[in-house]
């Protein structure tokens, strides 16, 4: 049995990688991938906590639904998929007009 903490540490590492990638990379597609990384890091914590609760649920409360953590992962995946669809569409639109994927060049809203 792998302890809960290990999952959480892995998740934190993945999340931090995602944040760093978001901050450092300039290519918008890489940034997008970093976002997915962060989302999936969160998903990992959800699953880990859900499993943890399954084992200790009775001890804490009988009102906790055992699968709620896993269900949230699906929610996140659906939202991520929708977001990816919209995001990629925007990226394509931006690329068509600006002919670049560098986010530093896409700054027309700046004063």
């Amino acid at each position: 049995m792998v302890p809960l903490a290990w999952y959480l540490i892995l998740s934190a590492i993945l999340f931090c990688l995602g944040v760093l990638g978001f901050l450092i990379k300039r290519n918008i597609i890489t940034i997008f991938m970093s976002i997915e990384l962060m989302l999936n890091a969160v998903n990992l914590t959800f699953v880990a906590f859900a499993n943890y609760w399954n084992q200790h649920a009775v001890a804490v409360s009988d009102k906790i639904v055992p699968l709620s953590g896993q269900v949230f992962v699906f929610f996140v995946m659906v939202v991520a998929a929708a977001e990816a669809a919209v995001g990629l569409a925007i990226i394509i639109a931006v690329f068509r007009t600006r002919e670049t994927l560098n986010v530093d060049r896409v700054n027309l809203l700046k004063l």
């Binding site: 944040v19 978001f22 901050l23 450092i24 300039r26 940034i31 986010v103 530093d104 896409v106 700054n107 027309l108 809203l109 700046k110 004063l111």
Partner: protein, 692 residues
């Protein structure tokens, strides 16, 4: 006989006229406007007559509150009306003379623009003036007091396109405000110490108080009221607005600035005689102010060349006499002079208006002359009025002025010095009035050929150029039938009131023929209840004031010989003034120029009205203007108030400008902010410990 007299009808009738003319008059033609104005005034006069006869049967004073106006704790001020001998005199003067002046105005204003506006204002004035004299408490009186000030402002500035007229209106208003301020303080003191402003309440409370030897409460109240009166009645030091008020149409000068409104201060003092009689110091101040005003204004009147300004200064001077009378506790003499003055001064102004009308708007006496053949009626009535104001018996002014001078001489409050000044003033009055008369009606007509270039007069030339312009704005010059060429007598609608007033100027004095001339001084006896009820009655007071506090003259130990001497002195002085004027302006018209040339400095000083206006400008107006500009405008208004508003704006702009840097448009910086924020939240949660 009805129980209640509905006195509120008297002021409300002119108000109705003012409302009709003011709201709808623009669409009426002149005939309808004048019908409305005249009918409302005439109805008011008639109703006043009826009410007075009823009231005389019912017994005076009649005091009835129609409705409650203000109630605050134990204090209340009603819409109440008060009719006693004093208000009877005032109401009759206001409505009677007012009606005559309305009639005159129909003719005088016929060629002016804003006919309906003029009559609406005039009726509005009547409303406020009647409210003033009929009110049964100081507060309602103050409403009328302020209201006549408003009407006066509107009418002085009637030719509002002319800067000088608009300025004169503002000046009148502002100077009056100074007096009103003191009046208000006096009222607050009355409320504080007596808890009421009703006349009967206040006077009842006062009647239990002894005469003040020093500077007590009553003295302070009396002085506050007096300052109010100096503003309204154009006394030193607040008289400066009245000569400028002559910018208004002439009937306005007659009605407001001679016959009625300016006497409001005298009325107020006479009404408050219970307070004044208990304060010898206040009386003394009133007498001195009146005396200074009388002689001061008379000397200024001697050098004026504008016919209306001469009359204005003479009004100030005569009001000084009334103040003097009140100041020696001879209130009935003051009111007597008020009444006779209303007749002959209204007549003088209207006559002057008739002269101005005849000459197509000319107001400078140096361009007049020899008019007596051309406008005989105007000449006759002007002569009557001049004789009346100069104090030549048996005209009205003689009796009232003699009454005042006699009281000043013999009253315990009076003094010989004041009497001497009063007599000198009578001589000066006679001189400048006959100067006006001879310059206007005798010699030869100097229209259009006057030596304005003369050195002494050169300084006033611009002012008179202004009057020349005024002539055109008066509209007479534009009218083909009223060209400058044809000097013509005024129409009968103007002459009728003049004749009635002339009769009044002759006979009005006969109601107060003093005892030593085998008269009965009916007027003094008529007013005696008002004044006696206010006279001090406590034993200590009796010793030195009761005699003076307005008991009719014949009740005092009199010396007929002394009275005769006093009366003949003033007549002789008046005749001397007449003779000097005749010699200088009729017999040897070239002399005045030589005299003024010799006494150049004095003449210029008098001509410039002792530089009082300039002095006030230097002492009060300029510093106030500087204070307002530097401190209140630039400092408080622009600095603090605008500064706060602008500061709030620029502060948020500055903060926004700094905060704007966060929104760089750089996605990664946004992400960094989010990450930092998240990290901060997590750090906080770890540090505080979650869920404990």
């Amino acid at each position: 006989m009805t129980d209640t007299l509905h006195l509120w009808v008297i002021p409300l009738l002119p108000l109705a006229g003012a409302a009709i003319n003011g709201l709808f008059g623009r669409r009426f033609n002149n005939a309808v406007v004048s019908a409305v104005a005249l009918l409302s005034t005439a109805a008011s006069f008639a109703y006043a007559l009826w009410a007075i006869t009823q009231a005389l049967h019912m017994g005076l004073p009649y005091n009835r509150s129609v409705a409650t106006w203000i109630t605050a704790g134990s204090f209340s001020a009603p819409f109440g009306f008060y009719l006693d001998q004093l208000s009877i005199v005032m109401v009759l003067v206001v409505t009677g003379v007012g009606f005559l002046i309305h009639v005159y105005s129909v003719g005088y204003m016929a060629h002016e623009g804003g006919f309906y506006r003029f009559f609406a204002y005039l009726n509005l004035f009547m409303f406020f003036m009647l409210t003033l004299v009929l009110a049964n408490n100081y507060l309602l009186m103050f409403v009328g007091w302020e209201g006549v000030g408003l009407a006066s402002y509107l009418l002085i500035g009637f030719f509002f396109l002319k800067d000088s007229a608009a300025d004169a209106g503002k000046k009148a208003f502002i100077v009056n405000r100074i007096g009103d301020f003191a009046f208000l303080i006096g009222m607050f003191l009355l409320i504080k110490h007596f808890g009421t402003l009703n006349f009967d309440g206040v006077f009842k409370a006062v009647s239990g108080m002894p005469v003040e030897a020093g500077w007590g409460l009553l003295t302070i109240i009396a002085l506050c009221l007096m300052v109010g009166a100096t503003g309204k009645s154009a006394q030193v030091p607040l008289y400066v607005w009245l000569p400028d008020a002559m910018e208004g149409p002439t009937p306005v000068s007659a009605l407001i600035h001679a016959a009625t409104m300016v006497t409001a201060g005298i009325y107020m003092i006479a009404r408050s005689n219970a307070i004044f009689s208990r304060s010898p110091h206040a009386l003394e101040v009133v007498a001195i102010i009146g005396c200074i005003t009388a002689i001061f204004a008379a000397t200024m009147g001697m050098a004026q060349t504008d016919i209306k300004r001469v009359l204005a200064y003479s009004t100030v001077s005569q009001l000084g006499y009334m103040f003097l009378a009140c100041g020696v506790a001879a209130y009935s003499a003051g009111i007597f002079h008020l009444m006779t003055h209303a007749f002959f001064k209204a007549l003088l102004f209207l006559g002057a208006g008739s002269v101005i009308h005849a000459l197509g708007g000319e107001q400078d006496m140096r361009r007049m002359g020899g008019l007596w053949k051309k406008i005989p009626w105007t000449h006759a009535v002007m002569l009557t009025a001049t004789l009346a104001i100069a104090g030549i018996p048996p005209f009205a002014g003689f009796f009232s002025k003699d009454e005042i001078l006699g009281q000043v001489f013999s009253s315990p409050h009076g003094s010989k010095v004041l009497w001497v000044i009063g007599v000198i003033t009578a001589g000066l009055t006679s001189f400048y009035m006959f100067r006006l008369y001879f310059m206007t009606f005798h010699g030869e007509l100097r229209l259009g050929k006057v030596d304005i270039g003369e050195e002494a007069h050169a300084t006033t030339a611009p002012a008179h150029a202004g009057h020349g312009a005024a002539a055109h704005s008066h509209g007479h010059g534009d009218d083909p039938a009223h060209g400058h060429g044809g000097v013509h007598e005024s129409p009968w609608v103007m002459l009728g009131p003049l004749v009635v007033l002339a009769i009044g100027s002759i006979v009005a004095g006969w109601v107060g023929i003093p005892a030593f001339m085998h008269g009965s001084n009916n007027f003094g006896q008529f007013l005696a209840p008002v004044i006696k009820s206010g006279a001090p009655t406590s034993p200590t007071a009796m010793e030195h004031v009761s005699e003076a506090a307005g008991q009719p003259r014949e009740e005092q130990p009199e010396n007929p010989g002394e009275e005769w001497a006093l009366a003949s002195t003033s007549v002789v002085v008046a005749l001397i003034g007449l003779l000097i004027a005749w010699y200088l302006y009729k017999k040897r018209p070239e002399l005045p120029a030589r005299i003024t040339a010799r006494m150049h400095g004095i003449y210029l000083t008098v001509l410039h009205k002792y530089y009082i206006d300039e002095g006030y400008g230097l002492l009060f107006v300029k510093p106030l203007l500087a204070l307002s500009t530097v401190v209140f405008w630039r400092g408080v208004d622009q600095g603090i108030i605008d500064g706060l508003v602008n500061g709030a704006g620029s502060a948020s702009k500055g903060i926004g400008g700094e905060l704007r840097r966060m929104q760089s448009g750089n996605i990664r910086s946004y992400a960094a902010w989010v990450a930092l924020g998240g990290a901060a939240v997590i750090a906080y949660m770890i540090w505080m410990g979650v869920g404990k």
